[in-house]
Symmetry: C2
Subunit: 459 residues, 2 copies
Amino acid sequence: MGNETVLLQPPRTRVLIVGGGFAGIHAAKGLAHLPVDVTLVDRRNHHTFQPLLYQVALAVLSPADIAQPIRTILRRQANSQVLMDEVTGVDVAARTVTLGSGSQVEYDYLVLATGATHSYFGKDEWAPFAPGLKTVEDATEIRRRVLLAFELAERQMVEHGWHPPLNFVVIGGGPTGVELAGAISDIAQLYMRHDFRHIDPATSRVMLLEGSPRILAVYPPDLSAKAEAALTRLGVEVHTNTHVTNIGPGWVEAGDKRIDAVVTLWAAGVQASPLGKMLAAVPPGSASPVELDRRGCVLVDAHLNPAGLPNVFVLGDLAHFEQDGHQVPGVAQPAMQMGDHIAKMIAADLEGRPRPPFRYFDKGDMATIGRMDAVAKVEWPFKAHLAGFPAWVTWLVVHIFFLIGFRNRLAVFAAWIWTYFTFTRGARLITGDQRLPGWQDQIDAGPTAPSETTHSELR
Amino acid sequence: MGNETVLLQPPRTRVLIVGGGFAGIHAAKGLAHLPVDVTLVDRRNHHTFQPLLYQVALAVLSPADIAQPIRTILRRQANSQVLMDEVTGVDVAARTVTLGSGSQVEYDYLVLATGATHSYFGKDEWAPFAPGLKTVEDATEIRRRVLLAFELAERQMVEHGWHPPLNFVVIGGGPTGVELAGAISDIAQLYMRHDFRHIDPATSRVMLLEGSPRILAVYPPDLSAKAEAALTRLGVEVHTNTHVTNIGPGWVEAGDKRIDAVVTLWAAGVQASPLGKMLAAVPPGSASPVELDRRGCVLVDAHLNPAGLPNVFVLGDLAHFEQDGHQVPGVAQPAMQMGDHIAKMIAADLEGRPRPPFRYFDKGDMATIGRMDAVAKVEWPFKAHLAGFPAWVTWLVVHIFFLIGFRNRLAVFAAWIWTYFTFTRGARLITGDQRLPGWQDQIDAGPTAPSETTHSELR
């Protein structure tokens, strides 16, 4: 046991990739035909297609539709191996990484792509009351809460003749918040219409709270406005300039307003994985220490290196990369492109050529808003701002195309066709605990609870 | 809150069904066109197609492929409602059922179909070390353990050059045990062949322990022999006359033998749901009290009534029903037929006719053994004992046919085709905790652990 040093495959150049997200998988696949030995370490056994995670949370897709074992993705790539383990330390001087068990793995190149997680801005005590959406477990937890809310309301209605208001509060008006709010509205308005006898799911309220003056703040203002209009048509109440000050079991406070919430979801903040901090802490007397931004992302240069570490690459959401004076956003596209770029740089090193600099090629951004609507800022192959049905179709095609694995594409496409035409969600399972935080408090407070807030009060 | 009496829909005959398994769902659907009001209560929101649960446990299917919301199954049935709640008491004198919240629901007819759960024969402390397979949660827990075993072994091999033996022990040689053992052998021998670089999954051992002299003891002896031969061809070590005396983290004891086990599964015993006991406890001074068998199943007459309770029906695995001197087995077929029979009896009551007695029509039994093999005792439309590929095809057709929901049939069929031809399992997700009970003990004991048992030692 203990601190043994393990030689993985000594004779060839060893590339150690940490993280099996978009950046890590693209880096590994790009290295397939180079004379290097690749080890990909991830603490999970699967790669998750995060852009569709919200569809698992809202019962359209099953977890396995959007997740695939990393091992299977790389099974035919002879120069690569996968290790399911956690990285607990990095020693850039000794060129080793420490794993969960205490063992150390040596590398010639280190590729860090461990991404980001949600940040409660220091209020981690909010986490149990407002789950975020980053992992398959998060998605099934959100699914559990949303579906359970309707079941508990029906039960309460049958047994006591009333139920607390079904208010769903989504905090954060970025793409994830917009997609979650639209999808909850969809499920309440359309997909559960014939399922209940005593409650009307369509009377539930969905509130989207955003601190800044507009939702989708990284999009052009016209698309933000179109997204807000589309959400409003779906019945979502969009509250901009609304700062959440506290969250508890069954309620959210925004300034002096209190909103009863049967389910609260967090889509407001992200922070880089702790690996950035480990890297910054490492070189004790280093001339140019590794710098982090305020989210914990590692500042990298045009070769995706942190200062002074030419054989360490930081990619994806963990990287802070600036191009033309702007930070490249933490989304799937730059992560994939950064991953693809790794092989080009290592190949250049092996052949003694100078490394090509990385340049992000932005093809655009998009977010769905419920059943048939979306907004898209297209940059390539033409420039356009799309909204409505055309944006939605574009979104469909792009997301099916980028899903890893033929089986997953088929399964997701079949599930979408089914969902679209039958108004049925195929994965409406409640598993695990059958309680909701704060539900019993709301029942005990009775039908005339003074804290019930109406739309106008919140405005 | 508290003990209010709730009138569901007073004017019509009220049928209260407890349990949304095969018996409960068939009972509810059968009552669709009778002038009665049906309430189906289940503590879960979904009906589970239990015969395919082992395929969720072994990563072929997703939970949503074999589970469907009870609410969706009955969504178009206007005389029926669904309540997700637990039943905590039955008062046959007052004709009420107590729910989890303390509320009471009145009934005119009570249909109890809450099934069975696994029994550790009084050794409930074994449960964390040897999970059984009754629910979707059980299946994902077994999936987690089996997949994690290979990942941990690969990690241990990379980091320390050896790993504890990959012994999978399945306790109980009934259909579930046989199907689990065959499917684990399949996944180890065939489906993971190209995925690992340091371990050879095919060197893992699968042991099936059965206390009685033959596996599939309820089948004819020739099929038991064929099933044992088929398992042996797959590499499963079948140990009959082997009584498990103790189970702990990472080991199983059978008499004076101790087997190291990376994963232990329990398929040995079932006991009736506690509702049987509640019913038996109810009539205090009753002339003919409700009788239970040793598993807690309720003895019922030809009208599926417990003694002296003509408006209470007990169905499915919860019922002990004898026909021609034999107890009808606790499997899907009799449960469905009993469910279907409920409407016939209630219709007879409503029309003032005598109730028709229930008669179980046995079409046969079958169990799969790995990828292309099965045994089937066919009783209808012809009598035959099938084994091998013909039995397997029969099994496929029957199971697709009985799956509730067109979408599920399509999804399962597609997953099977995919799995069969690509040797890939589509749902290989490890979620939740990333430890296995006893794994660290086995590592700490080192590569020459004295408790390692070989096949010949166990014999």
